[in-house]
């Protein structure tokens, strides 16, 4: 294990975070909410510490998959620990565990909160909370890759591990340019949404926070009722942009390079919109037939796109919806958004592979000698990909079950516990019952909160890095 280079990358990440803290500092100075000293001290202190660590150039630059996994996992843990300090130091979240939960929820773009009264937070803290979504959405290491000169090809490991999805490929030959494109289009979409929201007469700070939450598919609201009190126009804007940020960024790359036909031929994107419309239709029909009073198709679209892209805003308390609708919502929590987007969940592309493997094996039972190669976008899927996607499912279920068993120690009802694990592991935000849109994670024990933090990080980094971090074999000298 090359600790030199791991330390170096983490040092750079800490520097980047300290630079990010300048933005809440500015907000704090504008609103004069008294937190400017905290952000100033944090930014300076960690800027210097990170600078010192990153200044020592590693002796060896050898960097392989194992270093990649450890770097990414440690990086996220470090950045979260530092990010929690402002909440704790300002006293606005009195417990450090809660502060850490809140910031991990932010960076992993979950949006689950331990706060019962969000409106009680000061402006700069609200901004920092939402801004963490934006940083975490595309990933802090992908950002570093846009500035770090690529020495050799090994940077691809970092990108592969931090970007969600079973297969992560570069759009263009250089890692740096790919990372630049990702952040470029991310920034462009973010600005577009901001302009749309400002057009809807939303105050600038609110618009920024909501945009960050949408872009990173995070879901921290700034009002206690999340998005329910916004105008229909703003709700539509949020709905559309949540969906857009859940699309594979490869789609935008193809559009950007004017390969429209290829862009619209991506199976995953078609499937993603398919699932969206089918789920919406089922819920719409269910709500109509059970005659629950609801706000029409806008409300359905908003909730479905919010849950499916793992954002987690709510414009209504869907906890009050009929059982079938709630079940559909829980299911699309698991499918999640597209690979290569800012969204969470298990990703549509994985489910496509599960479904294809399933039909293939069923066919194999009927025709035992049949040979069929699975394809996406007209290209055969590598056997290794199928294997790792299947193992991912196993790992996912193990982590899920283990977490659920520990959470149940708190003895809350099953729906609460189950959806709490599902919502954190899939980086969504709200679950059902106690952790529903109107509830929070405040009542859980410290142990449970740590389990949720692990789940959120595991969900964002797609399980394996977090498991490897706790595996003795990773650290053993060979």
């Amino acid at each position: 294990m090359n600790f030199g280079i791991i330390g170096y990358v983490i040092g750079v990440a800490v520097c980047v975070e300290s630079i990010a803290m300048i933005f809440p500092l500015i907000v704090s100075l504008i609103y004069n909410d008294g937190n400017s000293t905290i952000f100033l001290i944090c930014a300076l202190l960690f800027g210097i510490i990170g600078g010192i660590v990153a200044k020592r150039k590693p002796k060896s630059t050898s960097f392989y998959a194992r270093e990649g996994f450890v770097t990414v996992a440690l990086c996220w843990v470090t950045v979260s620990l530092i990010g929690a300090i402002p909440f704790f130091a300002s006293g606005e979240i009195p417990s450090f565990t809660d502060s850490l939960f809140e910031i991990i929820s932010g960076f992993t773009t979950t949006g689950a909160s331990i706060l019962t009264n969000v409106e009680g937070l000061s402006e700069s803290m609200l901004f920092w909370r939402s801004f963490s979504h934006w940083i975490g959405g595309m990933g802090i290491l992908v950002f570093i890759l846009t500035v770090l000169p690529a020495a050799d090809g090994q940077n691809i490991y970092l990108m592969r591990i931090e970007s969600p999805g079973p297969v992560v490929d570069k759009f263009v030959p250089k890692v740096q340019k790919t990372a630049m494109f990702l952040y470029g289009s991310y920034l462009l979409l973010t600005l577009t949404q901001l302009i749309f929201l400002l057009f809807g007469k939303m105050p600038l700070l609110d618009a920024l926070c909501i945009t960050f939450g949408t872009a990173g598919t995070g879901g921290f609201g700034i009002l206690n009722d999340s998005a329910a009190s916004y105008s229909p126009y703003i709700q539509w804007v949020i709905t559309v942009f949540m969906l857009l940020f859940g699309v594979n960024f490869n789609f935008y790359f193809l559009i950007f390079t004017r390969r429209l036909r290829q862009a619209f031929a991506i199976d995953e994107v078609k499937c993603y919109f398919g699932i969206f419309f089918v789920a919406s239709a089922i819920i719409f029909a269910n709500l109509c037939f059970t005659q629950t009073p609801f706000g029409g198709i806008r409300e359905v679209f908003f909730q479905v796109s919010s849950v499916m892209t793992s954002t987690g805003y709510s414009s209504t308390d869907f906890n009050l919806w009929p059982q079938l609708s709630k079940a559909v919502l829980v299911m699309i929590m698991f499918t999640g958004a597209c690979a290569g987007s800012t969204g969470g969940g298990m990703k549509v592309s994985r489910f496509m592979i599960y479904f294809k493997t399933f039909t293939k094996e069923i066919r194999h039972l009927v025709h035992p000698r049949s040979v069929k190669v699975l394809k996406t976008d007209g290209k055969p899927i590598e056997h290794d990909t199928i294997r790792i996607v299947n193992v991912y499912l196993c790992a996912y279920i193990f982590v899920f079950c283990a977490s659920l068993l520990i959470i149940l120690l708190d003895n809350f009802d099953f729906t609460t516990s189950f959806t709490a694990v599902a919502t954190t592991l899939n980086n969504i935000g709200p679950g059902l019952e106690m952790v529903g849109p109107a509830g929070s994670f405040a009542q859980f024990s410290h142990l449970s909160k740590f389990v949720f933090m692990f789940d959120m990080l595991a969900g964002r980094l797609e399980i394996f890095p977090m498991i490897l971090l706790f595996l003795p074999a990773t650290w053993r000298r060979q």
Binding site: G153, D169, V172, P173, V175, K177
Partner: protein
């Protein structure tokens, strides 16, 4: 430049990582996904799995926007066909590796008809390189510039040489011709010397000297060599054939040991003057019987790297022959370098270097000013050939004595080629428009003559 490399074999991957480090955008295409993924994880390149000759694959690799396509697949036919397809689809320049001697015999025709920019035969290039080494037996390494008129010779200072413990600025008193030391290697350290640098025995130095002066220089330095009259080659592959043919043409005696009977017969038809021995080169008795102890040069060119190393080690033990060892696959360069196996020849690097040199030349026509570029001493030193054009006048480089130029440290102007004259520059010499200037430096990535200034 946007470059597509078809074939992610040994040469393909070497090229991909070298060119990517030089800042080009590389896409690698291979039908074997394992090859592609190993290329992608070892260099900052994009990988495409697919048949490189198919139009669809070439399109998805971005052939339309490519400036150059290099086909280095395992089969000549595939490489040539991919070049043809690429030429039609993307109108880019194409380079193909052609190894089959039958095709290579008609290479001018093939190049013309398929519109290839360059066809490269790695075996011929390797043979040419080995031939140069045999010509100058005292050198570890020879690189040539200015179309072969200037040579950069690398040799080790032997124990007891008068160079041991001498200051560089006093060296020229001992030689008739100016001798310029461009780079010094002491252990793992490589640096560009100045007048005050003191040389030691055991370090390796790279020297600029005209070809006819080389023997004079090395002999004075204390390296005792006699010209090579007989060469023993282990292995009868294509490199051996090309090498033997050139050696025979310049009047040397050649003996080839080859295991395969029918290949022996083939060689005996192709090379009537050579002595072809049918037998296992790893058989100690056979080597002794065929006179390994008395041969002037021993070249290990069998298909197995380990066997080549072993044979050269043995030859080093029993004879005083000049040794040359071919290594095609194994990657433990640090270790092999330490062994007494003479000069090591890596065919894949020779091919990659030639192609990289050609790409420099294309860039040259696209604005960069480097004519040729050589990576020396494991890529730690670059030797570059620049053209002095009118823009150098603006930069204040022309007609100014070198000692008044504010040159970068770790950089040395080694030669100025003016028409037919080669000047080994001193402080009073100047650049003139139309000159070619050869610079050796440890600063990697110079792009223009003005980059030699601070």
């Amino acid at each position: 430049m946007n470059i597509i490399i078809i074939g992610a074999g040994k040469v393909g991957v070497t090229l991909a990582s070298q060119l990517s480090r030089e800042g080009h955008e590389i896409t690698v295409v291979d039908s074997d996904s394992d090859h592609v993924s190993s290329a992608v994880s070892s260099a900052d390149v994009q990988g495409i799995v697919g048949n490189g000759t198919s139009h669809a694959t070439q399109l998805s690799a971005g052939i339309e926007a490519a400036d150059l396509m290099i086909a280095v697949t395992g089969s000549d036919e595939t490489s040539l066909l991919s070049c043809l397809m690429a030429k039609k689809a993307g109108n880019c320049r194409t380079i193909a590796r052609v190894r089959n001697p039958e095709y290579y015999a008609d290479i001018a025709f093939i190049k013309e008809e398929l519109g290839l920019s360059m066809a490269i035969n790695p075996e011929i290039e390797a043979a040419a390189y080995i031939y140069r080494l045999i010509q100058i037996p005292s050198a570890l390494d020879v690189e040539s510039f200015a179309k072969g008129r200037i040579n950069l010779i690398r040799f080790e200072i032997p124990r007891g040489s008068f160079l041991d413990g001498i200051k560089i600025k006093t060296i020229n008193q001992h030689f008739k011709q100016n001798m310029l030391i461009c780079a010094v290697e002491e252990g793992d350290r490589v640096f560009i010397p100045n007048g005050e640098t003191v040389l030691h025995s055991g370090s390796k130095i790279s020297v600029i000297a005209p070809l006819h002066e080389v023997r004079n220089v090395t002999e004075k330095a204390g390296i005792k060599t006699k010209p090579i009259r007989s060469v023993m080659i282990a292995g009868g592959g294509n490199i051996s054939y090309y090498l033997a043919a050139t050696l025979i043409r310049s009047g040397l005696r050649v003996k080839i040991l080859e295991l395969n009977k029918s290949r022996c017969e083939e060689l005996s038809v192709l090379l009537p003057e050579a002595v072809i021995i049918h037998g296992d080169a790893s058989d100690r008795n056979l080597l002794l019987e065929e006179g390994i102890e008395t041969t002037d040069a021993f070249v290990a060119l069998t298909g197995i790297d380990e066997e080549n190393i072993m044979l050269s080690l043995y030859a080093n033990k029993v004879s005083r022959a000049k040794l040359i060892t071919k290594i095609s696959k194994i990657t433990f360069e640090e270790v092999v370098r330490e062994l007494s196996v003479g000069t090591i020849v890596y065919p894949k690097q020779i091919t990659a270097r030639l192609i990289a040199g050609y790409i420099r030349a294309i860039q040259n026509s696209m604005g960069s000013n480097v004519d040729t570029l050589y990576k020396l001493v494991d890529g730690k030193v670059e030797a570059l050939e620049f053209k002095v054009n009118s823009s150098a006048v603006k930069d204040g480089l022309v007609d100014v004595p070198l000692m008044d130029l504010n040159l970068k440290p770790d950089l040395l102007v080694c030669a100025i080629v003016r028409g037919k004259k080669i000047i080994t520059p001193g402080g009073k010499d100047t650049f003139k428009v139309g000159d070619k200037v050869i610079v050796v430096t440890t600063t990697i990535g110079l792009n223009d003559l003005r980059d030699i200034l601070k």
